[in-house]
């Protein structure tokens, strides 16, 4: 029984990677390749190392996590999928796990690359901090695209959250400030992660309710 379920979901994961996820991975790789052109990533101290991670690498969350509802944007595809006995929430979870794992691996690789280039910072701590920020931005996108059934809305709100952080700083955002590591604080990252988990759970619940009502 377990092996059947495992086989089914591993097939779904592979299929998702091939049909839906590839283009987003390519965009994410492009973003990572652009970062060293925009920022110096070598010979940085701890505070300066946080800047490229929090300013650009964190955007991986928007690129990789926000579009998890994208394949069902077309009504006919969605209606067809909803007739199947496989749990839709299970499919979303598979997509989310794929996205989150990819985000973490990409951030870790980038942080290691910075470290190899002579930047001096705690690699694991900064990787986790950046990952929490990325997960939060992605979760904002997931929430808004999930409740609006419009992927552009998800991208729009999560990007505005990022822009607002740049423009307003921590003044209005308090514990949910994205760029805290650059200012020497890590506490905000736990708040971001907690809120992100909450947003994802609420979105999946709302999606389930919407499907049942439909």
């Amino acid at each position: 029984m377990f092996s059947v379920v495992l086989r089914k979901y591993s097939f779904i994961a592979k299929s998702n990677l091939k049909h839906n996820f590839l283009i987003h991975i390519l965009t994410a790789l492009l973003l990572l390749c652009l970062t060293p052109l925009l920022f110096g990533i070598g010979n940085l101290d701890a505070a300066a190392s946080a800047v490229p991670l929090e300013m650009i690498v964190v955007l991986l969350g928007i690129v990789l996590l926000t579009p998890i509802f994208m394949p069902e944007q077309q009504k006919d595809i969605r209606e067809l999928i909803e007739t199947k006995c496989t749990s839709q929430s299970g499919i979303y979870l598979i997509r989310m796990i794929t996205s989150v794992t990819t985000i973490f691996i990409m951030i870790l690789c980038f942080a290691l690359f910075m470290s190899l280039n002579g930047s001096n910072f705690p690699v694991l701590k900064y990787t986790i901090g950046t990952f929490f920020g990325a997960f939060f931005l992605g979760a904002v996108g997931v929430f808004f695209s999930g409740i609006s059934d419009n992927i552009a809305v998800g991208y729009m709100v999560s990007l505005f959250y990022y822009v607002f952080n740049m423009a307003a700083g921590s003044k209005y955002l308090g514990k949910l400030f994205l760029f805290s590591m650059s200012k020497g604080s890590f506490e905000e990252k736990y708040w971001l992660m907690g809120t992100a988990i909450l947003l994802v759970v609420v979105t999946l619940l709302i999606q389930t309710v919407i499907r049942r009502v439909r």
């Binding site: 110096g40 070598g42 940085l44 800047v51 419009n150 990007l159 505005f160």
Partner: protein
Amino acid sequence: MMFLKEFKKTIMSLTYLIFVGILLLMYVTQYETSVAKIEAPQKGLQSYGVKYEENKEIIIPNAVESLYGEFSANSYIAYPIGFYKNVKLGDKKQGEMVAILSEMTGISKDDLMADAGTDGAGITFGEGDMVTNESGEITFTVPGEGEGKEVLPSRISIDQKLTYERFRELMKDADKLIGGGSKYSNLTDFGSVPMTYEDALVEYKAIVEKDKITGALARVFSDYLGIVLSIFPVFVAVALGLKDRRAKIQELLYTRRISSFRFMFTRYFAMVAALFLPVLLMALYVTVQTANQYRGVDIDLFAFIKYSCGSLLPSIMVSAAVGVCLTVLTDTPIAIAAQGIWWFIGINMGLQHIDGGYGSDLVIRHNKVGNTDVYLDNFNTLVINRISYTLLAIALVALSVWIYELKRRGKLDVLGSIKKIFIHRKVESKA
């Protein structure tokens, strides 16, 4: 008729409502909280801010000292496109840098190399010493009297034969070696001097007489709104563009009698009009608010409208045009990524002109109430910039017309081609 339909379709979309919300949030949290009532400076204040002067007596020692310090540590700070970069030069380029320093100081390359790496670099200036401490303050020590001479283990002097013109050339070379965007790309930054009461009064008079108050405020208004207007219209354009595909009416639209030119341009201008409407309303609101605040003062009642049309409208146009063009071409939201990257680079390049000055920036920055003369001195650059972006927007929509026409004739299907490459390349029928 079609214009009104498209206009209505835009303002009824969810992305448009969020766009309006974003504008309001930026206005309330940024503009309203950063602008205080403009009043004449009071005499006897401790500080009136700083200004930058092209005074070679100040610039040369400051810049040479800074370069020497960075050379010693082989750690050069640069902002090539607005972002922090810590540049480390290879042996060859360090060799070229030491030649530059040697010419400016008159000290041999070997001595400079030997001295490199010693902390607390100081500088001999005329009869005494001029030392810049960590907070940027400049202090002088007199030879034989000050403790500074003993404290500072390393010192360099300025070659008396060095002319200002040659100094500028050498600093330009130094900037090139670092890769551009270094401190030495704008030498005036080394000429900061405290503003006096008289300076502050001149600046105030410029705001009152040349800007009629509202001009100075409108530049800050445009600065804050320009940040979001250079990126968020693309979301509205993409969402509206993809709506046809989601509703599966693309093919139906292709068969209509309307020309591609009329269809695309009407749709585009209706969208731009809808996107500009909240900006205009906010400009009107802030005009009324400012007029109430400055009762009895001669203000320019049209300043906010003029700046909105001249500075903000081109930003909306180009961002929306990128959305239209790439969505027509690919039928995907890729325009968001493209405009996002352009905006990200543009906004950071604009930081170099954050208090005015301008250039080829996508986002026009002027984050200071005042700097009227900087604005007037660079007015032509600003006009060329905005006209160029407007023309670029029109060109992108014209390109969209051509792409749309090809799709109508069935000669172009970019999304289908992408799918073939990435998705179905190995799929075989099991039947």
